[in-house]
Symmetry: C2
Subunit: 426 residues, 2 copies
């Protein structure tokens, strides 16, 4: 027999062994080309999830996924390039204000984004709320916009890490999403292949995130920072809190509206804080430590950058966004303080309203979602509006109401304030 | 959502949880009907292998696999029914003499057998060496032969435990064969569905077996004995040694010839010993503890039963069996004793000669295989024949020679004798 039998590779990992470089190269390539079957890769993914991988295995697996496709050359972009990736949270619209803001400060941001699945939304779904805006760019268009505008948010092309695209879809249906080696290699293979010079990772921790505790998040962050360094991409990570939704909106059009408020110099304090923290890390990683992103929000440069970015992809930044015909306002039943708004439960509520999708092929509702009127720590009086649920179809509201009610706790005393940025891994 | 999502079931087992009866019933049924995909069941099988299952989960899984198809009613057979199952070994032709022998002593043996895969042979492949013999019987033919002859060895019908058939094929390609809960439920679902009243299990232990150590074999045996009891099938198990091939032949036609020698009152001592030990257990389990199987071998009743069984399925018990054109005799290089003949390595040698198959759809060679001239403990002189390799194609011999050479050790002193029957689990 030549090559490796898939069963031998599966058994080696199943029994706690370390896969050789040659085994990893073979199995990733053979899976991409259809020579290793989905059921074989599913068994291997479960074995990886339960047995783990060494740093060397993760590095090789990532390299093999990069090698499955093309690696973009961003050298025609004269500015330093820096990208950001979030591991996904509820109300996490940070990419929307952050990308044009960092571009306004002198870097170029090649942001290849994805769509939402389950309780976390997707950046492309949100931007598609803007009339005319299109997510798909050719590589030539991508590099030209990066050079001319400095800010691009678009879908990853088919040619980047096709092994990852196939494996990601498989993991989603086989209960193997939550494997740190597979999460890290999936994120980093795409980011390295897109050609960015530097990368800032926003690793979410809390009920609304994949990583429920700081130790797991730190391990994931360190793994990715090392992978970036090994491939010549300056990489730092912030661990940030995702026990509470970010900002006051969860959905698609509602998150674009909130992002535009931030770009106009307003917006919720937590969204502004995280946008600026990530912008400073990105600008430092890009070799622009003296840039002042807070000033760029205040003086309109960030908004100008947003408008150019939206227009470059066919969008009309002045068009009104669709609104939902069905709105249910939920009010406080007693006086007190908002003690907690659980990110996961509120994410599920938004998903039930139509803002998210259960299957890859499902559409999402543009105007559906949740708008919070209060944040944790805010005082409330009985009868005050706590939040509103928005949907295109009234039939979606009752189930969402139950999840939203579970999410929000009103208590006699204000909760302790938790820091938004928990830790930096550099 | 109604029902269960496959991912939730996979995650529950992945995280070390116990699956509920409803989850097991749903996932087995949905997999059989194609609603749960192969890649999802592969991930679940790997999680079961690495996380294990409780006795209650195994019992329910087995019941769900039985419920996926029909359960035969053997009440038209007036005699007590008793079957035997071996977990598979090298040179394990015991079913061939055992089935007609037990029938000759008054029980009826409904032996549904399989084909070989990898280094262990299959009973149906061996019997197909007999000109005219056919493995496929309808349920009506099966029950009629059981009533009229008392002995049937045939392929399991499509209607018995279809969930197991589908899952077995999946496990084979996904490195999930070696999970005790899945082995036990696979074997027992088929045996319970075939309708036998009693069952004797030959659980093999050693290099040539799935179970490499006695503790694993004992756990498997106990699991199966409990499953049988829970479904009203009197079940006992013998743990037997499979570090050395059984008898002097490994292959297809060569094993039939050796079996006929046993039925004629001769044959190798170990094959006779194990055949009689299993026959006594089967007859006791069938309520015939006073039957004398040794006498039935001596006085020709077992041979008559064999001839009737072969003829009932179209075979000619007097036809000569095909012989191999290529024969390579390997001789001892030094004086001494045969210290060991490794079952696994010799099984692989026979497989390389063509006696076995690598993929389900491959054919097997009827005359190919290994014939031993010496057994462990036998004295040898330099130049004595140790074994011969037989093949239809001379090109298959060199690779097989290497495995066979690894299998056989000649040493200055005779090895300690190991018992063939290690333990009884009742």
């Amino acid at each position: 027999m030549s090559g490796f039998a898939a069963v031998d590779v599966i058994r080696a990992k199943r029994d706690g062994g370390v896969l050789s470089d040659a085994q990893i190269d073979w199995v990733v390539d053979a899976y991409t080309r259809g020579l290793v079957a989905d059921e074989q890769m599913a068994a291997l993914a479960m074995a990886i999830l339960l047995r783990g991988m060494s740093a060397q295995e993760i590095a090789r697996w990532t390299a093999a996924m990069i090698a499955s496709g093309e690696r973009l050359d961003l050298s025609p972009v004269s500015r330093p390039t820096v990208d950001k990736h979030s591991t996904g949270g509820v109300g996490d619209k940070i990419t929307l204000p952050l990308t044009p803001l960092v571009a306004a400060c002198g870097a170029a941001v090649p942001q290849l984004s994805g769509r939402g699945l389950g309780h976390t939304g997707g950046t492309l779904d949100k931007l598609e709320s803007v009339p005319g805006w299109r997510a798909a760019l050719s590589n030539v268009e991508f590099i030209a916009q990066l050079r001319d505008v400095g800010a691009v948010i678009c879908a990853a092309g088919e040619g980047l890490a096709p092994a990852d695209r196939k494996l990601y879809a498989l993991r989603d249906v086989t209960g193997t999403v939550e494997a740190i080696p597979l999460i890290a290699s999936s994120i980093m293979s795409k980011k390295i292949a897109e050609g960015t010079g530097a990368l800032v990772l926003d690793v979410k921790v809390g009920t609304g995130a994949f990583m429920k505790n700081v130790d797991d998040a730190r391990e994931l962050a360190r793994t990715m920072v090392e992978l970036g360094g090994a491939h010549g991409v300056r990489t730092v990570a912030l661990l940030t809190d995702m026990s509470t939704p970010l900002g006051l909106t969860i959905g698609n059009a509602v998150e674009v509206t909130e992002s535009v408020e931030v770009l106009a110099g307003g917006g919720p304090a937590d969204v502004v804080e995280l946008t600026l923290a990530l912008a400073r890390e990105m600008l430092a990683a890009a070799g622009l430590p003296d840039a002042d992103p807070a000033a760029a929000l205040r003086d309109g440069r960030a908004m100008d950058s947003w408008r150019r970015m939206i227009r470059a992809q066919g969008g009309d930044p002045d068009a009104p966004l669709p609104t939902a015909p069905e709105v249910e306002v939920v009010r406080a039943e007693s006086d007190g303080f908002v003690a907690a708004i659980d990110a996961y439960a509120m994410g599920v509520a938004a998903w039930r309203l139509g803002a998210g999708r259960a299957r890859k092929e499902d559409p999402v509702s543009i105007p559906a979602g949740v708008v919070l009127h209060k944040r944790p720590g805010d005082p409330v009086r009985a009868g005050d509006p706590l939040y509103e649920l928005r949907a295109e179809d009234a039939g979606r509201i009752p189930a969402a109401l139950a999840d939203a009610a579970r999410a929000v706790t009103v208590a006699p005393a204000a909760p302790e304030r938790k820091p938004l940025v928990i830790e930096r891994v550099g």
